[in-house]
């Protein structure tokens, strides 16, 4: 039986002549929480973008649940069950909180133009179901009392929660979180960590990009460290934290750096 959920093998990405990520191998097993750490510009977000099809990998293969997703478009990757959030919190700022989550579910509600124009009974029923489901997801992320607010007016922390709710609405089995606590007030971070763990307990595997080492050490099963696009360490949080190259990378030195 194939127990691997995501399998990235030997993936590289060039932007012109610039090597953004180089020969990365990474597997994420079902139910696992894997963190990716590394200094700014080490290729963490690029790796997410390659996996989700925003960037096409220059070489290597990506498989998800045994299926080759290397050359899929972003929407097709999501339909395989990979949800994601973005580093720059991406939400529909002008729409209501509830509508945001409804849009997240749209891939599961077949929308038909004819049904919409004639406002058929099945369309109305579908809309009601979608709304109900959206409320459930909002209460999962503790935003149920803010459903009618305009998303852009939420606090940064609530926007982060909403972005996770939108991704959850696509019903992923693997969630890629790009700095879920970035730019959030220190006192509010614990709440977001709790949410990440709650998502994981609900059976969704998580891959996390994070800078806050305390968070990474506490919640990860495994940690991957990147530097200049190369994987320099992989292991339990403890192993990676004491890894010589990782310490050096965070102090500004990097053995993988070109020319060194």
């Amino acid at each position: 039986m194939n127990t691997t959920s995501l399998e990235i093998s030997n993936v590289s990405k060039y932007f012109g002549g610039l090597l953004a990520i180089s020969e990365i191998d990474l597997t994420i097993r079902p139910g696992e929480l894997v963190s990716i750490i590394g200094p700014n510009g080490s290729g963490k977000s690029t790796l997410f973008n390659v996996v989700t099809g925003i960037h096409r990998s220059s070489s290597g293969a990506i498989r998800f649940n045994g299926k080759d997703i290397t050359h899929m478009k972003p929407y097709q990757v999501t339909r395989q069950g990979i949800g994601r959030t973005f580093q720059q919190t991406a939400i529909f700022r002008r729409a209501s909180v509830l509508d945001n989550v409804i849009i997240g579910q749209l891939l599961h509600t077949r929308t038909a133009v004819w049904g919409a124009i004639f406002n058929t009974r099945s369309t109305r029923r579908k809309e009601a179901q979608t709304r109900e489901k959206a409320r459930q997801i909002l209460s999962f992320v503790n935003l149920e009392d803010k459903d009618s607010q305009i998303a852009g007016n939420l606090t940064q922390e609530a926007q982060k929660r909403l972005s996770i709710a939108i991704a959850l609405a696509t019903e992923p089995t693997l969630l890629l979180l790009d700095e879920p606590t970035g730019g959030v007030n220190i006192r509010e971070i614990d709440g977001l960590i709790e949410l990440v763990e709650k998502v994981r307990k609900s059976g969704i595997s998580i891959c996390l990009i994070e800078h806050k080492m305390r968070m990474v050490m506490n919640i990860s099963d495994r940690v991957i460290a990147l530097c200049y696009g190369k994987k320099i360490a992989e292991g339990t949080p403890k192993e990676v934290a004491s890894h010589e190259q990782v310490v050096k990378a965070y102090l500004g030195e990097c053995n993988a750096a070109p020319g060194k």
């Binding site: 925003i54 994601r84 991406a90 939400i91 849009i103 749209l106 919409a116 579908k126 991704a167």
Partner: protein, 328 residues
């Protein structure tokens, strides 16, 4: 009392009142006003189509004059050359503009931003040149004469509604405006409309949610082409003469300008824009050149100072006034 209160607060009351005005005013005042309002209705229909595409899906096409032309010529040619009646020609023209929109949308929508706008413009120019140059088919610059008016509709008590008078044509076109308005209202407020709006607000995020943005944009483009085609066919039937002038690419720019002035992305915008920008200059009997000049200045002023357009700014102000007590 309660029902009156409900009526006052229902948005439909205002729309019904507007419809009532649209029904009664030409009947009472008559004359030249009917002609102006008929033209306003035709432009309003085209604006609703552009509003779906630009206002709600975020795709700016300045080339929808092409679909006005395709709708008009398809209607006229089928009616005149094949001798088919009004309704078969009308339905065929709708289908043909839909197919044209679909086929043009596939390559055009691969491009984004300014490049997409340029392709729509180029398409409009090409279609216009074809209308001028393919003389055997279109009659060239002289155009086509003899596009039919709607067939008389027999009533159960023996009377017949004929569409020879300007007033009857006005009501006929107003009827289509109402239907298309309701269709666009339903679309915008459905999950389909939410998808369009999501693409407008953040295409990358929408795509990351498993939504095929390309096919949704194609649906929006095709619907807007169909609506523009209907406007074109109605104009052909109203005017009975079709010329390449009626589909010059400037018409496509005008439709977008009316929409921006009325308020893109609002329900009332496509009605307000043509009403103000066509009716007022007509009634002031403006010289065409001065009209063009003023039109340009007004458009620039709107884009700089009132980018939401008239309807957008009004609804913004009223929502602020309504929310005032809560803020205090």
């Amino acid at each position: 009392m309660k029902t009156i209160e409900q009526l006052r607060s229902s948005p439909w009351t205002a729309w019904l009142a507007l419809l009532l005005i649209a029904l009664i005013v030409p009947l009472v005042l008559g004359g030249y006003l009917i002609t102006i309002l008929t033209i306003v209705c035709i432009y309003a229909i085209a604006c609703i189509g552009i509003n779906l595409l630009f206002g709600y899906t975020g795709l700016l096409s300045v080339g929808h004059s092409a679909f006005l032309g395709i709708g008009a010529y398809a209607f006229g040619l089928i009616a005149i050359r094949f001798g088919l009646g009004f309704w078969p020609s009308f339905c065929a023209s709708i289908i043909i503009s839909g197919i044209a929109g679909f086929l043009i949308g596939i390559p055009a929508l691969r491009l984004k931003g300014h490049y997409f706008v340029l392709v729509t413009l180029a398409f409009a120019v090409i279609i216009n040149i074809i209308m001028m140059a393919w003389i055997e088919l279109t009659g060239g610059a002289a155009g086509l004469a003899g596009a039919p008016r709607p067939d008389p509709i027999p009533l159960p008590w023996g009377d017949v509604i004929r569409f020879q008078s300007p007033l009857s044509m006005y009501y006929f076109i107003l009827f289509f405006l109402v239907i298309i308005f309701v269709v666009s209202y339903r679309l915008i407020n459905s999950l389909v409309g939410k998808t369009f709006i999501a693409i407008r607000d953040d295409e990358n995020l929408t795509q990351s949610l498993g939504i095929n943005t390309m096919s949704n944009k194609l649906v929006s483009f095709t619907i807007s082409a169909i609506i523009a085609g209907i406007a074109g066919a109605l104009f052909a039937s109203y005017n009975t003469v079709i010329s390449p002038d009626s589909a010059s690419f400037m018409k496509g720019v005008e439709i977008v300008a009316y929409l921006i002035i009325g308020g893109a992305g609002t329900l009332a915008g496509p009605l307000v824009g043509p009403l103000i920008m066509i009716a007022i200059p007509e009634m002031l009997q403006m010289v065409p050149e001065i009209r063009q000049l003023l039109f340009g200045i007004i458009l620039v002023l709107f884009i700089i100072f009132l980018p939401k357009g008239i309807a957008g700014e009004v609804s913004f102000l009223t929502s602020r006034i309504k929310s005032q007590p809560r803020n205090v």
